[in-house]
């Protein structure tokens, strides 16, 4: 592998990593808050992409308006899921996991009769390609990097600089103590579900013009997102960022050097080695 090819694969790795970060953000937020792994994250990602298909491509609404609509619609859906699934089973971790798994299966199965059996596509929003360190990358892929950055910064500011964010952090540290201090735990949990779902929808909405759309499209990104949040440390937003970039780079450089099959295997080997060295992940805590 030449130095030139290494740089090119690193550039592609950063663009792939940005996509991974987007996927992992909502997942890690929900884990950090409620200690649940949202198995429905991939299905919500898929729904976000289909909102873009119908509202932007079929409906003619401007892309960024459709993007906001996707986030609002699926954020509201997340809030409803918290009300109708998470809250009635009193936040039990195992029942919630099973319920979210059931929701995923339902959404994927319903996807074929609702959206059709053939793969769908969304035309590119940003046309053309640019040369970055000698590698041609489509503008739509490059745009993922700043857009992912905006979402990351927005989430960081929300969690660290707002009263609602402070309430979220309080629940993360000690739910009972937060409730005693007057924090409305149910409302904040609903908000966390809403934000988590909205972030998954944002990832799907950004990916829609880049990849093809089908009801199972969320499965592979969900697997990558799981790897990232374990790698970065469960519940850690900085961990999701670093984990996403690391996995993107590993995937890209190994696939370029050795091919797609070794890259798939080596990403798992990489995470096993890292967890042997640091079982809590890069930014995770023992508790």
């Amino acid at each position: 592998m030449t130095a030139g090819l290494l740089v090119q694969s690193a550039v592609i790795g950063v663009s792939i990593g940005s996509i991974y970060i987007l996927m992992a953000l909502g997942l890690t937020l929900m884990f950090g808050m409620m200690h649940i792994i949202n198995f429905a994250h991939g299905a919500v990602y898929m729904l976000g992409a289909f909102v873009i298909y119908y509202v932007f491509f079929q409906g003619g609404v401007p892309y960024f308006a459709a993007f906001v609509i996707a986030m609002i619609l699926l954020g509201a859906f997340g809030y409803l899921v918290e009300r109708s699934v998470y809250r009635p089973i009193k936040g039990g971790i195992e029942p919630t996991l099973v319920a979210l798994l059931a929701l995923t299966t339902f959404l994927q199965a319903a996807g074929y009769p609702v959206f059709g059996q053939l793969d769908k596509h969304v035309p590119p929003v940003f046309q053309g390609t640019r040369s970055v360190f000698g590698v041609m990358i489509s503008v739509e892929r490059l745009m993922i990097i700043p857009l992912a950055g905006i979402l990351v910064v927005g989430l960081y500011l929300f969690i660290n600089k707002t009263r609602l964010g402070a309430a979220m952090r309080a629940i993360e540290q000690d739910k009972e103590a937060a409730a005693l201090q007057g924090v409305n735990v149910n409302m904040i949990n609903g908000l966390a579900f809403g934000i988590g779902f909205a972030l998954a929808a944002a990832a799907g909405a950004l990916m829609a013009p880049i990849f093809k759309l089908d009801p199972m499209m969320g499965e592979q990104p969900l697997l990558k997102a799981f790897i990232i949040i374990i790698l970065g440390g469960l519940g850690s937003v900085p961990g999701a960022i670093v984990g996403g970039l690391m996995l993107g780079l590993v995937d890209s450089i190994v696939a370029t050097a050795l091919g797609a099959e070794p890259a798939f295997l080596l990403s798992f080997v990489f995470i096993i080695l890292l967890l042997l060295w640091k079982p809590t992940g890069l930014f995770g805590h023992a508790n």
């Binding site: 792939i16 041609m136 093809k212 592979q220 995937d251």
Partner: protein
């Protein structure tokens, strides 16, 4: 109040019951199983597979049914979606054989057909698959008749490419990481190397993959003139073409399996698909017989799908063989398949290829090849396989 049945109804019921299912109608139906991907990335293959079979059978039923030994039989399709997932493929074929009691099936997908090999052979089921897999057409699968041209037949198109486009010298290949992909690439690379091409890259991908950038970067570093995407489904091919063009690839693409270039063009962008060569998918010009088929297909299903032209083969072959065998016994139908010459939508077809496969169970007919121009797959050649 005491309820009584009129005598005539009781007698009629007794006669029908004693006469058995023949008179009641159940035995007058020939059930034909279809296990195919009706959803997921391979659905552009599976949907026309099911639709074409149904359409041919419905037209025969409308004429009174299939005459076997002086008795008319209706043809019924029982179709299940396997999503191109091996486990689902095994489950659907088991269900067809064990629950639905079918004796004749058509399965799509090399990996799925291979996984069902034992069940099909043990159940003595006649299979007319649309699938690429090493050893599928072989003496050990005597009741399996492959109803679509395979890589050993379709790769003959490379000769045509060599004669007309001598500037193409370096070939890269990318295929799914399963039985279908492995065998297709093995056959194709052996053939093109014999013709003097240099195979500069051979890659495999998981069918769930959507980001091909790293693997394409690796391939493009070898500076290929052409990329073969043999055995890859339309959705994946669309993404491969789109992403390769974004990375600056200016050469051609070739798919000597079968692919819906309209679906590919939607994903990759029409301009990016220009010049692509494909086997088994033609939009223009279509002979009268196929135009007629197109009208019937569109009338029934609303949307035209050119893949249905070649994927109608299992139904045509089955009907012709049953007519010739005048029997519903799988073995007798298989014997008839070995000798019958029948019409498919491209002309005369038969099963042959014994010299290559060791058994004459591979469909042989003039295979259509197209080149995409202005977004339309235009017929450029009809070639006969290298073996008969």
């Amino acid at each position: 109040m005491k309820r009584t049945f009129p005598l005539i109804q009781v007698v009629a019921f007794a006669v029908l019951t004693a006469a058995g299912p023949g008179l009641a109608g159940a035995a007058d139906v020939i059930k034909f199983g279809v296990s195919t991907p009706l959803s997921g990335p391979a659905a552009p293959w599976g949907i026309p597979h099911k639709n074409a079979t149904e359409l041919i059978f419905e037209e025969i039923n409308a004429q009174g049914g299939l005459d076997v030994g002086g008795k008319k039989y209706k043809l019924e399709v029982i179709a299940y979606d396997h999503k191109y997932v091996i486990a689902e493929g095994v489950a659907t074929v088991n269900r067809l054989i064990a629950k639905d009691g079918v004796k004749y099936i058509s399965v799509l997908g090399g990996a799925v057909v291979k996984a069902n090999e034992e069940a099909v052979n043990e159940g003595r089921v006649l299979n007319l698959p649309l699938a690429y897999a090493d050893g599928l057409v072989s003496p050990k699968n005597a009741l399996t008749f492959h109803a679509f041209p395979s890589p050993p037949e379709t790769t003959v198109f490379w000769k045509w490419v060599k004669e007309r486009h001598p500037q193409i010298k370096r070939v890269a290949t990318i295929s799914p990481n399963d039985d279908t992909g492995w065998w297709s690439i093995k056959v194709e690379t052996a053939y093109v190397q014999k013709l003097g091409y240099e195979v500069v890259s051979k890659e495999f991908f998981e069918r769930t993959m959507t980001d091909f950038n790293p693997v394409l970067l690796r391939m493009l570093a070898q500076k290929p003139d052409i990329i073969s995407v043999m055995a890859s489904p339309a959705g994946s091919v669309g993404l491969i073409i789109k992403q390769a063009r974004e990375l600056g690839f200016k050469g051609r693409f070739i798919h000597l399996g079968q692919i819906d270039t309209a679906v590919v063009g939607n994903i990759a962008g029409k301009a990016n698909v220009e010049g692509t060569w494909v086997h088994g998918y033609v939009q223009n010009p279509l002979p009268e017989k196929i135009k007629n088929w197109q009208a019937r297909y569109t009338k029934k299903y609303g949307e035209w799908n050119a893949t249905s032209i070649d994927f109608a083969n299992p139904a045509f072959a089955f009907v012709a063989a049953v007519k010739k065998a005048q029997s519903l016994d799988q073995k007798k139908i298989a014997e008839a398949l070995g000798t019958v010459e029948f019409d498919n939508l491209w002309g005369k077809a038969h099963f042959g290829g014994k010299d290559y496969y060791g058994i004459g169970n591979q469909i042989i007919y003039p295979m259509p090849f197209s080149e995409v121009k202005d977004g339309v797959a235009n017929l450029v050649a009809q070639l006969t396989p290298p073996h008969n």
